[in-house]
């Protein structure tokens, strides 16, 4: 009897767990085991690589206890931050699968399943996902870091290594739980406050912003987590949740590193140890309050999730609610058509491109990831710029614009090859009149309007602040020209119908990616220098003429290169394509 009662719960839990793998990121023809293996390998290899990379130095040096106590604060900060951010990123990527969504309601509502069982199963699956990711992210750092540290600090006893190992694992899992719950709290509270219909409209935007912010934070982590102990725990660092969990880490271990017995030291080593010990002792009183703050943060976010979940539990999505998700006519598209009057096929490409880029989950997530990389690069570049109002504009300041739109346009070029919905391709195929160039022009205009222009506008304020509004406006205009040239260059090698043709992965991508990345960074820096020359009057006319000539040359090259489209609306399963078994 017990088995019969637990049956639906277990079945549903398994179903919801599978959904995490099978949501829109995976094609219906995709191999679930392959996907799981790739995701697992990515998480494990990333954490293994980071642990080995950051800890390798300990195995090759001997450290004084005071020195070790201060310098390891950076690593501890890195590990708790990484655990928190990676888990939060997974939660943000699984955004719609975190609660019972419309699809679940449609399929499961007609079945004789109690809503409580449905919710419990979803809760279990979400908890299992969070726990799984938290453990996967933390297992290698927790094993490797204390063990390697023992080589550098031989005074550490075996039980102290074990204590550190367990502490790191528990605290980092706590940090990961905080990150995971924080994303769920944002989602649940947004749902509770906005109501089903409004939430359905803004939810993709909240998810995109969350991914951009978390992704940028992950990419900035190596910069932020250097010299944490020496720089102190004040200012913006003091308010970071990572700092609170790092304080909990130190509080839990009792800061035993600094108290370890000293071995024989040279005078220089003794001076160094004394200086570091002094630094650590200054920080030491902060750790207990930070630990209490970490507890409060974890408890607080758990409470927020509980309250919001309870509020939302009274309104399990129903078919009627979901179907009321009205999608108004795109005002952007309407305005754009006034600016870009073009052929019917061009308009089709424009509207289709605009819809896919911002509504299709895979495409949106790819762009969000690119935006995260772009913003991280922008922050790194801008960190060395003097933004004082009287500062002179520099090439570094101007480089933030091409870095951002460049990242996004490269991502756009990638998503062009990913079909929006393979099984729906027949609709395009039967209506296709062979106007490939006009259709691609429409898609290109959509990318320019919805990707490049917003990126250019986002970086306008810091440039205006540093160099004045006129300069910033001229920089924006040159940015539009630059983005148009980048777009033309990227589209030069694409001769299929965007978003429809079967996706074929590039064979040599892994080998070429570092070269492309290097070329991109050099290109952005060179373009910024070139722009500076135009904007400061060194070669204004010649520079603008060069840009115009480049654009025209690329258009002509594209027109010549683009043969009559070899349209492929094939529906070949990806696995068969990879193995070359389809004919």
């Amino acid at each position: 009897m017990r088995t019969a009662n637990r049956g639906p719960y277990l079945l549903l839990t398994r179903l919801f767990l599978r959904q995490f793998l099978e949501n829109d990121l995976l094609s219906p023809d995709g191999d679930r085991s392959q996907m799981l293996a790739i995701v697992g390998a990515a998480v494990i290899s990333l954490t293994l690589f980071i642990s080995m990379f950051t800890s390798a130095g300990y195995a090759m040096s001997i450290m004084m206890p005071g020195e070790a106590a201060v310098l390891t604060l950076s690593d501890k900060f890195l590990y708790v931050s990484l655990a928190m951010l990676v888990t939060a990123l997974v939660a943000a990527a699984q955004w719609d699968a975190l609660t019972i969504d419309y699809r679940d309601a449609v399929i499961l509502q007609p079945l004789p399943i109690r809503p409580a069982v449905l919710r419990l199963a979803k809760l279990t699956a979400v908890a299992a996902l969070g726990a799984g990711v938290a453990i996967a992210v933390n297992v290698f750092p927790a094993l490797i870091f204390p063990w390697m540290l023992a080589f550098a600090v031989p005074q550490m006893a075996a039980w102290q290594v074990l204590q550190m190992l367990l502490t790191q694992f528990v605290i980092a899992v706590g940090a990961a739980t905080f990150g995971f719950l924080a994303v769920i709290a944002i989602r649940e509270w947004a749902g509770a406050l906005l109501g089903a219909n409004l939430f359905a409209r803004v939810s993709p935007w909240i998810q995109t912003i969350a991914i951009v912010l978390i992704g940028s934070a992950i990419l900035l982590l190596p910069l932020v987590s250097t010299r944490v102990g020496q720089r102190g725990l004040t200012g913006w660092r003091a308010v970071l949740p990572s700092t609170a969990f790092m304080g909990a880490y130190e509080s839990a271990t009792g800061g035993f590193l600094v108290d370890l017995p000293r071995r024989r030291m040279t005078q220089r080593q003794a001076d160094r140890d004394r200086a570091f010990t002094e630094i650590y002792e200054q920080r030491r009183p902060m750790f207990a309050p930070l630990a209490r703050r970490a507890e409060a943060l974890l408890g607080g976010v758990a409470l927020l999730v509980l309250i919001a979940t309870a509020l939302n539990a009274f309104r399990t999505p129903s078919i009627s609610v979901a179907s009321a998700q009205a999608r108004g006519r795109s005002k952007i598209a309407f305005l754009a058509r006034l600016v870009f009057p073009r052929s019917a096929a061009g308009r089709a490409g424009f509207d289709f491109g605009l819809a896919i880029l911002w509504r299709n989950k895979t495409h949106r997530l790819t762009l969000a990831a690119a935006a995260a990389i772009g913003f991280a690069m922008v922050l790194v570049a801008i960190s060395g710029v003097d933004l004082a109002a009287d500062a002179r504009p520099t090439a570094r300041l101007l480089s933030i614009q091409p870095l951002l739109y460049g990242c996004l346009l490269v991502a756009f070029r990638h998503v062009l090859r990913i079909p929006a919905e393979l099984r729906a391709n027949w609709g395009i195929q039967i209506a296709w009149q062979g106007k490939a160039r006009a259709f691609a022009n429409g898609v290109r205009a959509a990318a320019m309007l919805s990707i490049a222009l917003p990126a250019i506008l986002v970086v306008l304020p810091p440039v205006a602040f540093a160099a004045g509004l006129t300069f910033a406006a001229a920089h924006a205009l040159l940015g539009i020209a630059g983005a148009a040239i980048v777009l033309e260059t990227l589209m030069l090698s694409y001769d299929k119908v965007p978003f429809t043709c079967t996706y074929l992965p590039t064979d040599n991508m892994r080998a070429m990616a570092p070269l492309y990345a290097l070329a991109f960074l050099i290109g952005a820096a060179l373009f910024a220098r070139f722009e500076l020359g135009i904007l400061t009057g060194a070669y204004s006319r010649a520079g603008v003429a060069f840009l115009a000539a480049t654009f025209i040359a690329l258009r002509i090259a594209g027109a010549f290169r683009r043969r009559v489209a070899d349209i492929d609306f094939n529906e070949t399963p990806v696995t068969l394509q990879n193995l070359g078994l389809y004919s």
Binding site: Y102, A326, A344, A345, D351, E421, G427, A431, W432, G434
Partner: protein, 258 residues
């Protein structure tokens, strides 16, 4: 208006022949029923006739010309209603019809007028701007039918179009098919609902395991098989097992253990 003709059409998937030397002609003003049990090759034939699937053998001709000579030109004359209404779930119904209409290069004013009309007549105006992901199967089917008729095609291929439609829309669809035929359209109507085929079609082609086993008017088929209905004809041609006996076995199996 020209004929749509298939000559010795065949299709193999991974070496397995699913359509075997099918010959058929659909003339203007004629509704040809295409009947067959599940897996008999109806959808595969319909996709080949629509120029969506390359045949392994044989040709499809429109106006006496192999459609492979210019598939795009052929598609200008064809409307296709598939069995499974797979659409882009992130587009609204209106947006999907705009996409199809623009790809077919219909003038913008005419397109707007037609889309509004189709949405109104199919009672989809309220849901027109909702995403297709939230549509029922019937609503999707209505969008697919609208998309197939937007450009006033000379040939319309219906592949089990009544799937998911409510009673009123199914009745309307039958009248629509007949009306289109009276206006000179050549129509292939693939279905397994015998009653609909009997009421709508002038001629019936019966497919069994990829082979055409009958191609004649319903009246003549009745006479030849000494049956009073199309169901009787179909039973004689295609059904090898006794349906009553299988039904009894199924009911017995369902009742097992209760």
């Amino acid at each position: 208006m020209p004929d749509l003709r298939a000559r010795k059409l065949s299709k193999r998937f991974s070496g397995i022949r699913v359509v075997n030397d099918v010959n058929l002609t659909v003339r203007p003003g004629e509704v040809v029923g295409y009947l067959g049990p599940n897996g008999s090759g109806k959808t595969t034939t319909a996709r080949m006739l629509g120029g969506l699937l390359e045949p392994s053998g044989g040709v499809v001709e429109y106006d006496g010309v192999d459609i492979r000579a210019d598939v795009i030109a052929f598609h200008r004359h064809v409307g296709y209603v598939p069995e499974e209404p797979y659409l882009y779930p992130f587009l609204s119904g209106r947006e999907y019809l705009q996409l199809v209409g623009r790809l077919r290069e219909l003038p913008e004013g005419l397109l707007t007028e037609k889309i509004d009309g189709f949405l109104r007549l199919f009672s989809l105006s309220v849901a027109a701007d909702q995403s297709i992901g939230s549509y029922s199967k019937g609503m999707r089917q209505k969008i697919v039918i609208s998309a197939a008729l937007l450009h006033d095609p000379a040939v319309v291929i219906f592949d089990e179009p009544e799937t998911g439609l409510d009673v009123a829309t199914t009745l309307m669809l039958r009248h629509l098919v007949r009306t289109l035929a009276t206006r000179g359209k050549a129509i292939l109507y693939s279905s397994h609902i015998l009653e609909v085929v009997e009421r709508v079609c002038d001629r019936v082609i019966v497919l069994h395991k990829g082979n055409v086993v009958a191609d004649d008017s319903i009246e003549r088929l009745r006479v030849l098989s000494s049956s009073t209905s199309l169901e009787g004809v179909f039973s004689q041609l295609v059904i090898r097992e006794d349906p009553e006996s299988i039904a009894r076995d199924l009911a017995d199996l369902a009742a097992t253990g209760s």
